[in-house]
């Protein structure tokens, strides 16, 4: 059955991190060629939309930009995020059934606090979109399935304490690839335990393996969780030809994955095989979203014989499934073990911004709360820039106690010349800065 699909295509042909960096001008050039040549925009059920530009309010609903938005972000980031918001608007207004934000630069390595760029990302474009959807359309439960080859550590960080956002990341095992996180035991904070699921896959996992993980692990969890909206963080670097990863996924596989997952919104993330993967993967995803025939999606050099799944991968994935469900079924017991009773939980993070060469030290304290996501206090400093912030996040649907705690923290926080105190009040959609 065909579906009305919106496409926000923004290749940003005048933006690059550097001329030979993977995240450079022509990253989507050959994709544009392929999509145009296939005539995808001519299908009656596929419509192209011009991206909007995200506003500072949209960004501040997610991030603490240090020292400020203008310093860390470029117009390209606001357009990439804006493209996601356009995709969301088209879906939420019913103008289309689903939408794909084929935009760059990507965003899923960006944490709540942004001192600079890491993993080619500055602003977490799908987090900005998710918070926008919740704010503007009042959608309660959203599932993000991150199929980028790298662990979506930024999205995980942002939604770690959020009981209303299910974050599932499929990625190449963190022992073998940047950012080195995303292990099975990373399951979420005390107020959202089990709403983060990590599925590290062995290098060499291909179509058969991905679809097995989707059918046997991802779909049952998503279905049990009953989201109102499903987002695919559609990185394309699991492809067998990607230059910076070691997976063996295919264009047809990506199409089939999207056909089965049927996300409401897809957002492009990574994917750096710009000539031999992206043109075919994107064609496949678009066809799948639009409900068109994907049987003929194939890379010119694809050979099924070369892509048989090794037995050890089959075994590994079966064990992964067992491990994931063992935890999933025991999650209430596990939660008590991970987070013994107490009023607050604190974790420390040492975050390296590989793209900008910065290091951030962070202490994050969340109020343990049975009634909402819990107010979070983030104390973050970057010695390389000399910037420091104290960020207080009051969650959507905050309970009175958490609201009171958050407002008190904001008012009582000590002032300093080099310390910005910020209140990010998601529930009342305000962002206050005290300098």
């Amino acid at each position: 059955m065909t579906r009305k699909t919106g496409l926000v295509f923004f290749p940003a042909y005048d933006y690059a991190i550097s001329p030979t960096h993977p995240e450079r001008e022509e990253r989507l050039l050959y994709t544009q060629d392929q999509v145009l040549e296939e005539g995808l925009f001519d299908f009656d059920n596929i419509r192209e939309f011009k991206p909007g530009i995200a506003t500072p309010e949209d960004i501040c609903r997610v991030h603490f930009c240090v020292p400020d938005l203008d310093t860390v972000a470029h117009a390209s980031h606001l357009i990439a995020a804006g493209g996601c918001l356009t995709a969301a608007d088209k879906v939420m207004s019913g103008e289309v059934d689903n939408a794909f934000a084929l935009v760059r630069p990507p965003g899923h390595h960006s944490f709540r606090v942004v001192h600079g760029s890491r993993g080619f990302c500055t602003l977490n474009i799908e987090a900005v979109m998710v918070e926008y959807i919740r704010h503007k359309y009042g959608v309660r439960r959203i599932a993000i399935v991150d199929t980028d080859c790298h662990h979506g550590d930024g999205s995980q960080d942002i939604f770690w304490h959020d009981p209303d956002v299910l974050f599932i990341s499929l990625h190449q095992d963190g022992r073998t690839l940047y950012p080195g996180s995303g292990f099975v035991d990373e399951l979420g904070g005390p107020n959202a335990f089990g709403a983060t699921i990590n599925l590290p896959l062995p290098p060499g996992t291909g179509e058969q393996g991905f679809l097995y993980v989707l059918d046997d692990i991802v779909m049952p969890i998503v279905e049990a969780w009953k989201p109102d909206l499903v987002v695919n963080s559609a990185g394309q670097d699991n492809h067998y030809s990607d230059p910076i990863t070691q997976m063996a996924f295919t264009a047809h596989g990506y199409a089939e994955l999207n056909r089965r997952l049927a996300p409401d919104i897809c957002v492009l993330e990574g994917g750096y095989s710009i000539q031999t993967a992206l043109p075919y993967v994107n064609t496949g995803i678009i066809l799948a979203m639009a409900g068109l025939d994907i049987a003929h999606v194939r890379e010119p050099d694809y050979d099924a014989f070369d892509h048989r799944q090794p037995g050890e991968i089959t075994d590994y994935l079966r064990r992964l499934k067992e491990a994931v469900f063992e935890q999933w079924h025991a999650r209430s017991t596990l939660k008590r073990r991970f987070y013994p009773d107490g009023e607050f939980h604190t974790r420390s993070k040492d975050i390296f911004y590989d793209t900008d060469g910065l290091r951030e030290h962070q202490r994050e304290t969340v109020r343990i709360c049975p009634d909402c996501g819990g107010t979070i206090v983030t104390d973050s400093r970057c010695d390389d820039t000399g910037n420091r912030i104290l960020g207080i996040t009051i969650p959507f649907h905050a309970c009175d106690a958490c609201r009171h705690h958050g407002e008190h923290q904001y008012e009582a926080a000590p002032s300093g010349r080099n310390l910005h105190v910020i209140l990010q009040d998601k529930d009342r959609d305000r962002y206050l800065v005290r300098t």
């Binding site: 295509f9 923004f10 290749p11 940003a12 042909y13 005048d14 933006y15 001329p19 030979t20 450079r24 001008e25 022509e26 050039l29 050959y30 544009q32 060629d33 392929q34 145009l36 040549e37 296939e38 005539g39 995808l40 925009f41 001519d42 299908f43 192209e48 939309f49 011009k50 991206p51 530009i53 117009a75 390209s76 357009i79 230059p243 000539q275 043109p279 075919y280 064609t283 066809l287 068109l292 025939d293 049987a295 003929h296 999606v297 194939r298 890379e299 010119p300």
Partner: protein, 559 residues
Amino acid sequence: MLLGIDVGGTHTDSVLLQDRTIVAKAKVATDTADILGSVLRATCAVADVERLKRVERIVLSTTVLTNAVAQDQLDRVGLVVMNGPGVAPADLPLAGETTIVAGYMNHRGIEAEAPDEPELNALADAFARDGIGHVAIVGKFSSRNPLHELCAAKIFVARARHVSLGHQLSGQLNFPRRIATAYLNEALWSLHARFVEQLAGYLAEIGIDVPLYILKADGGTIEVARSRDCPVQTILSGPAASIMGVLPLVPTDVDCVSIDIGGTTTDIALFAHGAPLLQPQGADIGGHRTLVRGLLTRSMALGGDSQVRVIDRRLVIGPERQGSAMAFGGPCPTPTDALIASGRADFGDKAKAAQAMADLARDLGRTPEETATAVVAQACDHIADHVRGMVAEVNAKPVYTIHELLEGRVIAPKRLIAVGGPAPCMADEIGVRLGMPALVPPNHDVANACGAAMARTTVELNLVADTEAKIMSIAELGERVKIPKRFTDEDVIAAGRERLLRIAREAGAREEDLAVEVTDRQSFNVVRGQFNSGRNIRVRVQIKPGLTHAGTGPSEVRP
């Protein structure tokens, strides 16, 4: 002097122009069964043979091919498609008439799969056996590398009457549109060739040796002999003629909108600082989405003869036309009747127009006068809404760079130009609604023929240079040339310019009309590993639609 002839559905108009001024004009009825006869009668009505001999050029816009498409008078075509992977064959246009064969190129024009010669030979035999003499061959990414189409052509051309190749008709990407374009071109080839031969034969017979041009959908002319290879480019010459007809009045310092109010429809076009906008992808022809370069028009189902009815005590105008206005003996009330009854227009049978309004007024519960005014107001509202909608749509077109998104050009019309029968009676009221002054050109009744007469020759070329592979391809020419590694953007533009001028001259362009414009220019690194291994440069050059300098000089003598 220039002679312009526009063969429309009802009338064939002709004008003789000197210095962009009408010397003579005529209107004769179009005999759809004998288009050539209509052309000749319209010609004779403005000039005798002696005068014709002194004409600098003759330009024709015709609906012969448009009608053939509408009435499905198309030759059977053997459609040979090299699809490769991607969109399923069943989802391609004309899937029922297509034979899918092996072979395809990738996006860089590198062979991904070779064609299968025995397969093509067998197919050529089968076509010959089935009496299919017309063949269209289309390959994926053939505008990046035409090799497969050319190879296949060699096999089919020996046994077919004529073969159309996708890459020769457009250098743009869009495989489904390329299929439809090549198909239509081939399906119309014989009809067009016959028409062109008859016309040239007749002129030769009466001793006239004047360059004969035909108008293309992009508002440019092409010499008739050259048009034989690309009949599809000339299908939509009617709407193009109308747009070119208003061009002398279009200001070049502001954006502008033109409307052509006909009997059944109103066509809207936009001009950016004097240049008519082109369709971003290609024209739609009889339900086929093609790659034919065409002027951008929006057609709405509202014209002077649209049927006006009262449904649930509300006026409904169009979309059907039942006949002419009641004032001209037609069967039902129309906007034209409203114009007459309200005193805006002074033609036709006023009593019948008043009767038309009285009929509507009774159902509407208002006076006939109020009704007439309401009909006109509603028609003007409707047209103004469509103009605004079209402008918004053009401005909503996606762009692909940050610079364009933040600072991109926005079309903001400041002037309205209206042509067509009811135009003089409605232009001002539409202009008021759009907040811009309205202008009705004198002789707007023969604007199309004037447009044809004054159009200059247009050509477009798409070039892609790949300095890593050291190859430059010029799509429309089917050319692949070796280039040095150091080839630059400027080199590509120079190569494009040189070829563009050559083919423009071959198509009959005049030297003073040869203004080359670079419409697209993109240059990207090709990176292998961590290093730059070359550049991928894309350039589009054109001679844009505009007015010819022909026929404006003091001399009427051809060089």
